[in-house]
């Protein structure tokens, strides 16, 4: 007798986990969409945002005050990154920029821990994580909350891209940088805004993940979970980040529970990557990604 209830539990748990991955992937997509850069530093930005927030709260700053202050810091970070890294490297190929973001991630991690210390912090967002059951299937309150937040963020960004002038500018830049330049869009400004937006996403994701794991060094490792999501969904698609996240989350958990025992367990770490890899071989640009015109 197949245990449907358990299966549903694992599936739903996986889908909700996946939303958390999507949140991290969202930051990547924003930047990649508009500048073609795969920002490996997204994970450390997450860590930095979470650490700053938590340290302010621990020093007595009220929740929303700390949130606003951290937001300000992320804006500054975005502007700084654009000025010091993106501008000098503006004509370099994407992989060079990727390496630069790798270096940037080291810098941000170092600064974060130098400033705020290396201790572990708890982060309480006020959501009780007691489970509730729907027809005997277990669902987590916190995960639902996170899903709601992620959903609204995605909706907000989608609307933003579609209906505002800046959003239009973003899409123009993403489509063709030179044409955008030709019609008078100021690229540096656009990029600074994009990186700031990614910083905001990092803040939200950092708070949610920090509440889940505690705020400490390994928080920046969530970026390794986001990469298969990007591969599956396409590097430059917001919808892809969501769908990819859901898929990866579900596949990861289901494979751990049902396939894992044949290997002795513990396959979650690479299952997502192998799935992404397999998928890539069939559809190299991901589910929703734009097909790259590869002039080999």
């Amino acid at each position: 007798m197949f245990d449907y209830q358990f299966f549903l539990e694992v599936l739903i748990g996986g889908l909700l986990s996946g939303i958390m991955y999507s949140l991290v992937a969202l930051g990547f997509v924003l930047i990649y969409k508009t500048s073609g850069v795969l920002n490996f530093a997204q994970g450390s930005m997450l860590l930095f945002a979470a650490l700053t927030f938590v340290s302010l709260v621990e020093r007595g700053v009220p929740f929303w005050g700390a949130f606003a202050a951290t937001l300000g810091v992320m804006v500054l970070l975005g502007v700084a990154v654009e000025r010091t890294i993106l501008r000098p490297l503006v004509n370099q190929p994407p992989i060079t920029l990727f390496m630069a973001t790798l270096g940037l991630s080291y810098v941000i991690e170092g600064v974060a821990q130098l400033l705020w210390g290396t201790q572990v912090h708890g982060l309480d967002l006020g959501i009780e994580d007691s489970p509730f059951e729907v027809y005997g299937v277990l669902i987590s309150q916190f995960d639902l909350f996170a899903a709601a937040v992620a959903g609204s963020l995605v909706a907000a960004f989608s609307l933003f891209f579609r209906y505002t002038r800046i959003g239009l500018a973003f899409r123009a830049v993403a489509d063709d940088q030179y044409a955008a330049l030709a019609v008078g869009l100021r690229l540096p400004r656009v990029w600074a805004i994009v990186w700031t937006a990614a910083g905001v996403v990092a803040l939200v994701a950092g708070l949610l993940w920090g509440a889940r794991l505690g705020v400490q060094f390994s928080l920046s490792l969530v970026v390794l979970k986001a990469l298969p999501v990007l591969v599956l969904g396409g590097f430059d698609s917001i919808a892809g980040a969501i769908v990819g996240g859901l898929l990866i989350g579900a596949i990861e958990k289901l494979s751990e529970v049902y396939i894992g025992p044949y290997f002795g367990g513990g396959i979650e770490g690479w299952a997502a990557y192998v799935v992404a890899l397999g998928f890539l071989l069939i559809r190299p640009a991901g589910l929703f990604g734009q097909k790259l015109v590869e002039r080999a």
Partner: protein, 443 residues
């Protein structure tokens, strides 16, 4: 060319390190510290090395050293990485008067075993390390003091038995061990099986892949399996995530028993409310009320030489472990000095001291550590020392001791340890010692 630069910096650095001690005329005993104050395990590292240094400072300030011999030390950051640990070892090993190595890291300890055996300096792996190094006949220089992984397992099972009303009540019960996906995590699988066979309980091992950020599926499985107890054999971020995920799936937290690397404030604080009621094993109780900790606060922190930046962490699990480790190291030196004289000792002499490190309850009380830890009885054959364990429960703000001192089942474990040590000896061509005399190696 950069070598000369090294040489110069090394000279300056060691001068500063050695110059840490007071009047140069006095003899000194040196502790090289492969510490980790950054990286994923920084919280434990700062606590442990902080406590260790605090105790050394106490001895220096209050007693003027051990019988007049000042204690000195210097730190090299390893970030808990093996090759950094090795690099620090190579760098610091030629300083005069090295007493012992205390890396607090399984990986680094393993990499050092051959090296320190050649250098003839003891390696102390308190509460962790290579289980078979308990057999001092094959590992003359390695000391897994107080608790090795097998004893820890036995201690946990004995505690659970106690909670159920006796070892006979274990029969038919179910225990899940949630372990970290690393060799450390897997190390005790055979012992759980052994004890399960002996007492008749069912044991299921579930792995959490490193680093343990995601445990959804594992805890859903646990929910399905409905065990009576879950043993958490975690490390780092896996611990708070485990507790939070347990809450998420509704498993009662007071039925989760943590092992000795899942037992600290840093493991439970990030989990917030989810950790209230969680129980974990420990070889040293937490708290500031013990006389020796009080003395450290008064003497060392009073003089502004306290090592911990955050004074609230005084008396925490890792800090106290560092203090206990300090006590063990210093007493070994004291005992060795009793035989060899009040002067700087060689590594071999310190080893002799460790092999006679017998602190009974009375001596522990004299040292101001009554209730902090129980006792230790190291011999040349038994490098673990038969440490006792107790269990603490987290109430949201601090740890409270909830059990008497429990003894692991050493007699049951010793034959397995000897077998494993014998295999190692055969592989390496080591002739096990037959008496207390200096070891004989043939390689």
């Amino acid at each position: 060319m950069s070598y000369l630069k090294h040489l110069k910096s090394a000279v300056i650095a060691s001068a500063i390190a050695v110059g840490f001690a007071l009047p140069a005329a006095a003899d000194e005993q040196y502790f090289p510290l492969q510490s980790y104050r950054v990286g994923p395990y920084a919280a434990g590292g700062t606590g442990f090395f902080g406590g260790f240094i605090d105790y050394l400072n106490l001895i220096n300030i209050r007693d003027g050293g051990v019988n007049g011999v000042k204690l000195t030390w210097s730190e090299g950051e390893t970030q808990y990485e093996v090759e950094k640990g090795v690099e620090v070892y190579e760098r610091l090993k030629n300083n005069p008067g090295v007493a012992a190595w205390n890396p607090l890291s399984v990986g680094i300890a393993y990499a050092m075993i051959d090296r320190i055996t050649q250098d003839k300096v003891p390696l102390i792996t308190v509460n962790h390390g290579r289980t078979d190094s308990t057999d001092g006949r094959v590992f003359p220089y390695v000391f897994p003091l107080l608790l090795n992984p097998y004893s820890e397992t036995s201690g946990i099972v004995n505690y659970i038995a106690g909670k159920l009303g006796g070892q006979d009540k274990l029969k038919g019960k179910k225990i899940v061990v949630l372990y970290h996906g690393s060799p450390y995590g897997k190390e005790t699988i055979p012992i759980y099986k052994l004890l399960a066979d002996k007492y008749g309980f069912e044991v299921q091992q579930i792995e959490v892949p490193h680093p343990g950020n995601e445990q959804q599926s594992q805890w859903l499985e646990i929910r399905r399996a409905k065990p009576d107890y879950v043993v958490l054999r975690g490390w780092g971020v896996m611990n708070p995530v485990a507790l939070k995920t347990a809450q998420k799936v509704g498993y009662p937290v007071d039925h989760i028993v943590g092992n000795v690397w899942s037992n600290s404030e840093e493991d439970v604080i990030p989990a917030g409310d989810a950790a209230k009621g969680y129980v974990a094993i420990t070889t040293q109780a937490s708290g500031e009320q013990y006389p020796v900790v009080q003395e450290i606060v008064k003497t060392v922190y009073g003089a502004g030489k306290g090592n911990l930046e955050d004074k609230k962490r005084i008396g925490s699990v890792y800090h106290n472990l560092g203090i206990v480790n300090g006590i063990l190291n210093v007493e070994a030196i004291r005992i060795a000095q009793g035989k060899f004289g009040h002067r700087t000792l060689t590594g071999d002499e310190v080893r002799w001291g460790f092999e006679h490190l017998q602190l009974d309850a009375k001596r522990v009380e004299e040292l101001g550590a009554k209730g902090l830890f129980h006792s230790i009885n190291v011999t040349w054959k038994n490098h673990e020392g038969d440490g006792y364990v107790t269990f603490q429960q987290w109430d949201g703000a601090k740890w409270n001791v909830v059990s008497d001192w429990i003894a692991p089942d050493w007699a049951l474990l010793r034959p397995i340890i000897e077998k494993s040590a014998a295999a190692y000896a055969a592989e390496k061509g080591i002739k096990p010692r037959t008496s207390e005399e200096a070891p004989v190696t043939t390689n």
